[in-house]
Amino acid sequence: MKNTPSTPADDVVPSRTTGAGRLLITVYGVFAISASARAGYQIATQFGDAPVAYLLSAFAAVVYIAATISLAKPGHKWAVAATAAICIELLGVLVVGVLSLLDAKAFPHATVWSMFGQGYGYVPLVLPLIGLWWLYRHRAAASR
């Protein structure tokens, strides 16, 4: 989650970790921690109840951790990694959101992404859009 304060001199891309990027990474970090804790708790205590939902929880946690780390790291490769992670995140919240809407009984409020992240104030739905916008802006700045 932490980033080394000094980036290499050859890193001409304006760092993703400055300014608003720090807030974005903070929110991602909070979701990484809460999703991991929730998934860990679910799997440790009641895995048998709904293995698919809880594995989905764990998957969401991994995606948030990957997004947090890749956003915090400098360089082009990490930007690609962050874009991939956030696209998976967006896909996840949309697919799980639709599934939970269509069949609420089979899909209880068991993951971060159920009902498009309703239980988390829809932040899981908005966060990937902001993340992709942030990455896009910094890509545009890099090509100039």
């Binding site: 304060p5 970790t17 400055t18 300014g19 720090r22 807030l23 909070v30 205590t45 209880p108 409020h109």
Partner: protein, 125 residues
Amino acid sequence: MTIDGWFIAGAIIGLASTITCAVAAVMKKKPNDITLLALAAVELFILTYAAASVVRLANGGHIAGQPWEFWGYIATAAALPVGGFYWAMMERTFWSNYVMGAVGVTVVVMMARMAQIWYGISTPA
């Protein structure tokens, strides 16, 4: 969930901390004594809540949910202001105030969950 004095106090302190930091950020101020104190207040509240919870348990109180889940929330909530402080201080711009503001509201959400665990009106996990 049962709303007790602890949750109300936590909600007031957490939201006040977030609002303080957000206002300072909107005014494009760098982190200053006021916003740092707002963050410290959240940490102080969580430590007080943790100590009080130990006392309540010692006096025959009872956690309806899983105790280790409750203490996990306490530990995480206590770590948040510290982590937020370091993450904000590594780059002191007005954005750091937004980062610190994120801590208060997160702790309020966690307080709600801790109240659920303590009183036992648990949502499906």
